[in-house]
Symmetry: C2
Subunit: 433 residues, 2 copies
Amino acid sequence: MDKRFPTPPQTEQSLTDLDLLLQRARVAARELALKTSEEKNRMLLEMATALEDACEEILAANKKDVAAAKGVVADAMIDRLLLNKERIFAMAKGIKEVALLPDPVGKILQENTLSSGLFMQKITVPLGVVAIIYESRPNVTSDAAALALKSGNACVLKGGKEAYASAMAIVSALRGALEKMGENPDYINMPKDASRQTATALMTASGRVDVLIPRGGAGLIRSCVQNATVPCIETGTGICHVYVDDEADIDLALSVIENAKTSRPSVCNAEEVLLVGEKIAPAILPRLQKRLTEDRTTQGKPPVRFLVHENAAAYLCGEPATEEDFHTEFLDYILAVKTVKSVNEAILHIAEHSTHHSDCIITTNPQTAEAFLNAVDSAAVYHNASTRFTDGGEFGKGCEIGISTQKLHARGPMGLEELVSYKYVVRGNGQIR
Amino acid sequence: MDKRFPTPPQTEQSLTDLDLLLQRARVAARELALKTSEEKNRMLLEMATALEDACEEILAANKKDVAAAKGVVADAMIDRLLLNKERIFAMAKGIKEVALLPDPVGKILQENTLSSGLFMQKITVPLGVVAIIYESRPNVTSDAAALALKSGNACVLKGGKEAYASAMAIVSALRGALEKMGENPDYINMPKDASRQTATALMTASGRVDVLIPRGGAGLIRSCVQNATVPCIETGTGICHVYVDDEADIDLALSVIENAKTSRPSVCNAEEVLLVGEKIAPAILPRLQKRLTEDRTTQGKPPVRFLVHENAAAYLCGEPATEEDFHTEFLDYILAVKTVKSVNEAILHIAEHSTHHSDCIITTNPQTAEAFLNAVDSAAVYHNASTRFTDGGEFGKGCEIGISTQKLHARGPMGLEELVSYKYVVRGNGQIR
């Protein structure tokens, strides 16, 4: 254990419990790192079966969480929290799918003989102990556990207090499967204390947590990024832009805008801001207004509210947009709209307002598209397609543990390959320097 | 600019200066990201020439730093600080060598058509604004500037107060070269205020610094890791182990141990701890004692002091080692020595004491070597070779900006390839999800 960064003095029992948990997780991580793909896949299949078998217990625990949450949290949150048999079986299916994915550990990334005669291999290895701090969706518990195990990492799962009983029932089933097979249950860990204090302790467990991945709303992410002394991956917040160039196909643009904004407004890859070339604005904005309000109402779908910059107000009705609106992740049926003079103005606006998640240009001009794709510095940049595709499944990763919006380590959807590091293995016959 | 994480209210003039500098660096980073390899190489060659041309000014500035430091800091530190014509020309040569290295930006890491019909490319891109906080060695200034520029990153160089005049003279020469060519000098930045306050402001400049790389002693690294809210790469501290297995070639072992301990004890890849199989201990330790003390004294070289665990005391004279000694980076002619019963005990000791930098096994048994190389989780693991090889140059990277001892993003020596991220460029024809 790295002693250079001692944790602060611990006085509370709950922290002592966490210390023990982290010590056991470290030992388990060393064991798990040496397991073969076959051994890990067998564990995953047992975990999936155990989850199905524990359906009743998990539903009973979930009922407690939901009862406690009613009236305390918003209905949308209760829906996220709610489990049923289908959802539990879908979680089990998710684990089985992870078993089928290729093992990211032990891949030789590079292999060569150095000038000193040493034979060097750069080989992927697990990260070690991965801590995930998340909110109320119980399926994150089984997804994260499966991804961590397949990538050879021991995990510490700190879910939201409001989902504690459900998460604990899920973790008990998964750990039970490992125990039954004679494997170490400490590959998957959940602190008994679901309080904020545990989250803070994980953020500052230097040398004991190798990476912290927060999953949740902007508040949770900010708290982790600001307080973590362990390596942390910023995920998820998305102020995504669609820019409609003056040379765009208007029908294609309308279809992409509606999809990016409305197919699932609560997620991070949804569009929040529309930038429109000022020459095409008079042609497209009135049609957009009709399509996203009247037409949707007629179809029984929620209409979109427009927050309109003064430069677009001649073509689009809506509330006046403030500067703050262009820095806001609405996660709702709300779209901020502004016109721009050129692709360069669009690029500049995005540089100053984007969270570097996903941004899109709609244009028929290939040079303009290239300029945008080169200059916009986001995890995913799109030409003529919806920002909603930024997703581990869509990107061919099979799954995701989060979407990185920082540039260190991983960017965009993070699957198994993003849950490993590497080491250099160097073989010699007495070389000295 | 990402506004989700506002910096604390700023009251001091120096912080306002830094804000302006970071704003200019951000704009410069966007420009630099779009430069071709040829443009960047031309800048590097001009920078090298400018450094040679500014030799007199740099030496004059350095004289001031050295005069101010005398009597205040240790002699070893003054030697690190001291420049002469040769050292300045070596710095220029270093910049020219960086110009010859392959450009790490714009590499296509992956390219495929997704199930949605989207054509996706994963392409390397610069990190953006890279801040380097370092200590007194002035050559770090030019090395870091060259590496950052070649990898398309604007840099913010915060050197030690004691080397301020030297670093500023170097940065002036480099920025002058850019200006003379009509390029933006803000690719290379140095805050006017060299105080600790500036370091703290850089560590917390979320959304404005993309990555922070501390280079220096354990105190500096710890301060950055504990206080940074920007993504930070932990570098450099090395408690490196050599384990001599019972089945080792003793001559080879002695040669590797002496090299790993004494060829440059002040650096992070030097050996600090020797673990010896208890069966081979009686044969090797007395010979080691003679070789590292008497023989070296005879050769006019500094002898090594041994800190000896009680289990090795029968075969080796020295001061008794404390538990703390096995957690200490001596950076000196000091070696802590302990015997172990087996390779597994060696692996466990290393797991609990190593900083995961470089660790080595000396053995003639290939199975034992494999067990060690697999189980030891360090950036570089060696079989029958000195730990001193963990170095960007030796690893074929041409250069290094530091050696990562964490597992996120990069591990081991970090050269140009470790100074880039990637983005997903996705081209469609109207795909919606």
